[in-house]
């Protein structure tokens, strides 16, 4: 890792923590003190985590674009393959649910999209990096 990338990675981790904290805080507020609050206030609270999300996306894009041409090429192949695999995999999973082969709750499905994307990207990156060695 280059020295120039280290502050960006630190920023990324910090923003991810802020994102998780704001999501948890908004969920807690909506479940407890704001259970019967006005819709506009509940909507506003739900949208608070969007701010760190925007910063996180900017940071990740900055990190990805800071790489050299070969790294960008590897990242592009990896992210594209991971996104397609997750998208098609989810579609296939929904069909398996329709025909009652598997059964997953909505909450579980929602929470697992991001980790699966991340794992898919990491595996695809290893494969792409080996190809360009």
């Amino acid at each position: 890792m280059t020295a120039a990338l280290r502050p960006s990675l630190r920023d990324c981790l910090l923003v991810a923590l802020v994102y998780v904290a704001t999501v948890w805080a908004s969920v807690w507020l909506l479940r407890h003190p704001l259970v019967g609050a006005a819709t506009w206030l509940r909507t506003l609270i739900v949208l608070v985590p969007v701010l760190p999300m925007v910063v996180a996306i900017r940071t990740v894009v900055k990190i990805v674009l800071a790489g050299d041409e070969l790294q960008r090429r590897i990242d592009l192949e990896a992210i594209a393959m991971a996104a397609l695999a997750v998208g098609i995999g989810s579609l296939t999973l929904s069909l398996l649910m329709v025909v009652k082969v598997v059964d997953i709750s909505g909450r579980t499905a929602l929470v697992w999209v991001l980790p699966v994307l991340w794992v898919g990207y990491s595996l695809a990156r290893l494969w792409a990096a080996r190809r360009y060695r």
Binding site: M53, I57, V111
Partner: protein
């Protein structure tokens, strides 16, 4: 349209058509209740095969694109995937807090359209940036 994109469409369209055909066929077959046991899962997973060809087409078009095209694609796909991942994760926490309620089926079926829409919007934005 450049030759590389024409080749991509030539490879992508039949593979996607195969995927759609196998999806419709396998769901129809399964809904009739024909195979049983492990065969049901195997028939349901059959449409994954043409996806390997879709991925191959994608990797080939990426490899043969020019540097600016790759940069735009990278930004678009990174922003698109991250946005979808984070929105779904946030929605999952909201579902856990009983703020929203969704079935597993409805969530799973919307991941691909959400990824495509998010990627499309991010690509429009990235193209404007590099104009």
């Amino acid at each position: 349209m450049r030759a590389v994109h024409r080749r991509y469409l030539r490879e992508f369209i039949p593979a996607m058509a195969g995927y759609v055909g196998l999806i419709l066929g396998s769901v129809y077959w399964l809904k009739l209740g024909h195979p049983s046991g492990y065969w049901r899962a195997l028939i349901a997973l059959l449409p994954v095969l043409p996806i390997v060809l879709v991925m191959r087409a994608m990797v080939r078009v990426i490899r043969d694109s020019d540097e600016l095209e790759r940069r735009i694609e990278l930004e678009a796909v990174a922003i698109g995937a991250m946005t979808v991942g984070m929105v779904f994760f946030g929605a999952g926490l909201l579902a856990g807090a009983d703020v929203i309620a969704l079935t597993g089926e409805s969530v799973a079926i919307w991941v691909l359209p959400a990824l495509c829409a998010s990627y499309g919007l991010a690509k429009c934005w990235a193209i404007r940036r590099y104009r």
